[in-house]
């Protein structure tokens, strides 16, 4: 019950609650107070418009429409509730039938329900109204039965969900009869969503009832509900519009109130609603890069493909901006393969997105320099620049399953960019797509080009993605975890393909990975990122033997090799990665570092070049670490921390 009160906290929920209660109160008191006013006949004053005496005018017997509308609340609400009860009870019978009757008969009931719910409620209501006859009683039954299939299906879904749970299975094993299990274990657990949906259903029943009465099939004179008043009022809408409007507004207000009350409760309780629309959690990510502007001549004399200085990426957070990338500088030469490694959350993927101009607002990218082939990417995107990016920069994303548009053929998806940027016509773009698919070793490319992504295997899709990057004349391929989502057996193929393309076409490669082995195998140089910064920059060949940063060494040590005892637990880096929203002062790695000293906690080590082209950010770079036998790197860290205090 307490959770139900949460409804009152939203303005909509509060309004709906107040209105619903108001309608219910009116339903109780209105007939007691105003029946006489509503039934008073005044033949001298028939079909009059609104006046001080009759706020909504009078009907053809001179009766006051306003009071009649108020008094009609009871009958309207009663009938709607009665119909809802019927719908819920019949729905429960239908919905639990598969559970009680067993598989075969249950399936028949289910199939019938599925056919019935395909028909709109008003049609079912008309059908039943014919069977049950014109009048209030017939209409209650008709609307009740018309609503039953929807409740039946809801119940059936809920019951199926609960009955697969452990405690129900346990009750079965214990030999508890099915009916008993249903009442003791299953129904109590599904009552909440049922009640919520019944509330919404009551609103719908109210509206449907008004509909049937409006058609003249529901309440008959001399009784009257809102629909009946509306039916009587519409005939004289030119004489006294208020006679139709007053009951119309009453129906609307009451229907809306019940409906919104139910929806608010559902939202508050996190209960699904029949035919409802799922709410979306807001995503912290973003769209359309909106960096500053101006085109530059590209193709400078150097062979630098990518030049990045002081790159920062920031997102608005609840307490000021969050900076997952905090000042990253590096460059990539023609034909060079650069690896970026780090744990998830280290900022490596965002770095890749930022250099490809794919960070979306509200994310912000700042840099002292961000040049691709001499063109400044910080400026507003122009057509020429889009062409440059579209043809010279190829992206390969992590999950090839979701990175292709499922509704379009592969060939077309590959050809699209070429048609756009290179001005190729449909046929030649497709021909090039087929050719590129062949280049990435997809067999029968002509046939494959006509297929949809779901007809490709994972590895084949990733190769197609690489092929898509080769549609232009790429100078740089940015591959973000290209093998992570793939089957182990095809990972190597994809890596080999990247390496082969790089060698053959002299393309630079930026390979993002959490896996040092992958990076070490494919790349010339490796950047190690931690908490949004580069902590070490070294030749890939030196990774295993002469890495100097404790974090890099921990990453390398975590890789199982020939000597690893396969029965021992896999070595992991102890501690948790830094939360970008809460980066500690000093060295970000200090909390997990076996070499950390008081200085590390206080002062941040700068990234310094050592003269041999390597860079490292650590106060104790290269100092020996006394590895525990079990591979744990902790030990000294704790000792130091004690000393530091």
């Amino acid at each position: 019950m307490k959770r139900w009160m949460s409804v009152l906290r939203t303005p909509v929920g509060l309004t709906a609650t107040v209105l619903s209660i108001g309608v219910l109160v009116l339903a109780v008191v209105a007939p007691l107070l105003w029946t006489d006013n509503a039934d008073a006949i005044d033949t001298d004053d028939i079909l009059a418009g609104p006046s001080a005496q009759h706020w909504a005018g009078t009907d053809n017997l001179g009766r006051d429409i306003f009071y009649r509308t108020l008094v009609a609340t009871r009958l309207s609400v009663e009938l709607a509730l009665a119909a809802t009860v019927i719908a819920v009870v019949v729905g429960l019978l239908i919905g639990t039938a598969p559970y009680l009757l067993g598989r075969r008969p249950g399936r028949v009931v289910l199939a019938g329900t599925n056919i019935a719910v395909a028909f709109p409620g008003i049609l079912l209501a008309l059908f039943f109204a014919v069977i049950f006859g014109v009048g209030a009683k017939g209409a209650v039954l008709a609307i009740g039965f018309a609503g039953a299939p929807t409740f039946g299906r809801l119940t059936q879904t809920l019951v199926a969900g609960i009955s697969s749970r452990d405690f129900v299975a346990a009750a079965h094993v214990a030999g508890v009869p099915r009916l008993r299990i249903l009442f003791r274990h299953v129904l109590p657990n599904v009552s909440e969503p049922l009640v919520v949906n019944a509330t919404i259903g009551a609103g719908a029943a109210l509206l449907s009832f008004a509909g049937l009465s409006f058609l003249g099939l529901g309440v008959q004179q001399p009784a009257y509900d809102w629909g009946r008043l509306l039916f009587d009022g519409i005939g004289s809408i030119y004489v006294n519009p208020a006679a139709a409007l007053a009951p119309g507004i009453a129906v609307l207000v009451a229907g809306l109130a019940f409906n919104l009350f139910g929806e608010s409760v559902a939202k508050g309780l996190g209960v699904g609603v029949v035919g409802g629309i799922p709410a979306l959690p807001p995503s912290p990510e973003a769209l359309e890069a909106d960096a500053p502007a101006a085109e530059q001549a590209h193709g400078s004399g150097t062979d630098l493909v990518l030049d990045v200085r002081d790159l920062e990426v920031a997102f608005p957070g609840p307490t000021g901006p969050i900076r997952p990338v905090r000042g990253v500088s590096f460059s990539v030469r023609r034909g060079e393969a650069l690896g970026i490694v780090g744990e998830s959350g280290s900022g490596k993927s965002l770095t890749a997105l930022a250099v490809s101009r794919l960070v979306e607002a509200p994310g912000r990218v700042d840099a002292a320099r961000l040049d691709l082939l001499g063109s400044d990417l910080r400026v507003e995107e122009t057509k020429a620049q889009r062409r440059l990016l579209g043809t010279s920069l190829a992206m390969v994303f992590q999950d090839p399953m979701t990175s292709f548009n499922p509704t379009r053929r592969m060939g077309g998806q590959l050809a699209e960019g070429a048609r756009h940027h290179q001005g190729l016509d449909r046929a030649s773009a497709l021909a090039r797509a087929v050719d590129r698919m062949r280049a990435v070793r997809i067999s029968e490319p002509e046939r494959r080009a006509h297929q949809y992504p779901h007809e490709f295997s994972g590895g084949m899709r990733q190769r197609a993605m690489i092929g898509m990057g080769l549609m232009g004349s790429p100078a740089l391929i940015v591959a973000d975890e290209p093998t992570t989502a793939l089957d182990v057996t095809v990972q190597q193929q994809v890596l080999d393909l990247l390496a082969a393309i790089r060698a053959a076409e002299d393309v630079a490669l930026v390979l993002i990975s959490h896996d040092v082995t992958v990076v070490g195998e494919v790349c010339d140089r490796v950047l190690v990122m931690y908490a949004g910064k580069i902590v070490e920059d070294l030749p890939a060949a030196d990774l295993a033997a002469t890495a100097r940063h404790p974090y890099t060494r921990a990453l390398v040590a975590a890789v199982p090799d020939m000597d690893t005892d396969l029965d021992a637990p896999l070595a992991v880096i102890p501690g948790r990665p830094v939360d970008p929203a809460d980066v500690p002062a000093g060295c970000a790695f200090a909390a997990r570092c076996p070499l950390a000293t008081a200085r590390c906690h206080a002062e941040e080590p700068p990234l310094e070049a050592d003269g041999t082209g390597r860079r490292v950010a650590c106060w104790h770079a290269g100092e020996p670490i006394d590895l525990e036998v079990d591979g744990s790197l902790l030990g000294r860290d704790e000792r130091e921390e004690v000393e530091a205090r």
């Binding site: 709109p120 409006f214 058609l215 099939l217 809408i237 409007l245 919104l260 490809s356 994303f397 292709f404």
Partner: protein, 331 residues
């Protein structure tokens, strides 16, 4: 293309392995089963009415001989199964019986009334889609990733309220504003093009609001998808990314729910026609129920039911065209 390939790889199974063929067969099967249920239900309807339907139609004062003759003519005294068989046979020959009150073949009554209802439904359908798709897409793009919170709240609030207002009440309100108060548009009938405006609006606004809301939500979801990022990585213009890549996927997701809304428009004509005295099936069925002219009611129920089933089938076909995976998912 794909047909040739599956035949080539599995020659023995032949065309049956082709996804479109399998989809067609399965979908047709479902349509036929639903049709059978519908026809049986409409047959049973007359027999479930308590009392004698003929007596009810002719009134308590009608001579017993007339009632008996009418019963005889309708075969109501035959065994139930024989009647059922007879009913199915006459359906195939297009014989829907005779209207007791109008003294006309029911098929003729339907033929007279159907065009007006179809015109209303199609127009409302077109208007609803024409409003909902651009509106939903624009809103989706503008409110993606937590942008435009205010716009989103205003839009969602308005569309929720518009979506809940039942079509006949909206009709009454429209009549009040545009016919009674402003006098711009006629209140009833379908004699002039301007007479279409209010009924079509009454029928289309609610579904359009709900559909637009669904499309917005789906657009926002789809715009976060990886393949949209891929499209952006190809540096396609925003319009191509939104309309060419995101929209088809948003539509496939919207269609499943949207189909229900579109079928509800078929039935919505019943109430709206009665607001505007529209000379279609909807006003006919109500007067027939009140006159206890059950043969006409039975036939109109059947027509509406078939309409709903056809819309459902079309939605599934549209879904399959937009997203070929949906054919397989059904397996």
């Amino acid at each position: 293309m794909a047909l040739a390939s599956s035949v080539a790889t599995s020659p023995r199974v032949g065309v049956w392995s082709h996804p479109w063929v399998r989809f067609g067969v399965r979908r047709l099967g479902r349509l036929l089963v639903s049709l059978w249920v519908l026809v049986t239900a409409s047959f049973l309807m007359i027999h479930l009415i308590p009392g004698d339907p003929v007596r009810a139609a002719l009134g308590p004062t009608a001579p017993a001989a007339l009632v008996a003759a009418k019963r005889e003519e309708m075969g109501l005294d035959d065994p139930l199964l024989a009647q059922y068989w007879h009913y199915l046979q006459s359906l195939f020959t297009g014989d829907l019986g005779t209207s007791i009150t109008l003294q006309l073949p029911v098929s003729q009554v339907i033929a007279q009334r159907l065009p007006a209802t179809l015109a209303l439904a199609f127009l409302a359908f077109a208007v609803a889609v024409a409003i909902a798709v651009p509106l939903g897409v624009t809103m989706g793009v503008r409110t993606r990733r937590g942008h435009g919170r205010r716009t989103e709240l205003a839009f969602t609030g308005t569309s929720v309220v518009l979506g809940i207002i039942p079509d006949f009440l909206l009709g009454v309100l429209l009549v009040y504003v545009f016919a009674v108060t402003l006098g711009w548009l006629p209140v009833a009938g379908n004699d002039s093009p301007s007479a279409y405006v209010l009924p079509v609006l009454a029928l289309a606004v609610g579904p359009a609001a709900i559909l637009a809301r669904i499309i917005r939500v789906e657009m926002v979801t789809v715009l976060q998808a990886d393949f949209v990022r891929t499209a952006r990585a190809k540096r396609l213009p925003a319009r191509t990314v939104h309309l060419g890549h995101a929209l088809p996927n948003a539509l496939t997701a919207s269609l499943t729910l949207g189909g229900l809304i579109l079928t509800s428009m078929v039935a919505g004509t019943v109430l709206v026609e009665n607001v505007f005295a529209w000379p279609g099936l909807g006003s006919m069925i109500v007067s027939s129920i009140l006159n206890k002219d059950y043969q006409v009611v039975q036939a109109i129920v059947l027509v509406y039911g078939v309409g709903v089933l056809l819309v459902n089938t079309l939605v599934d076909v549209a879904l399959a065209l937009l997203d070929p995976r949906s054919m397989i998912r059904e397996d």
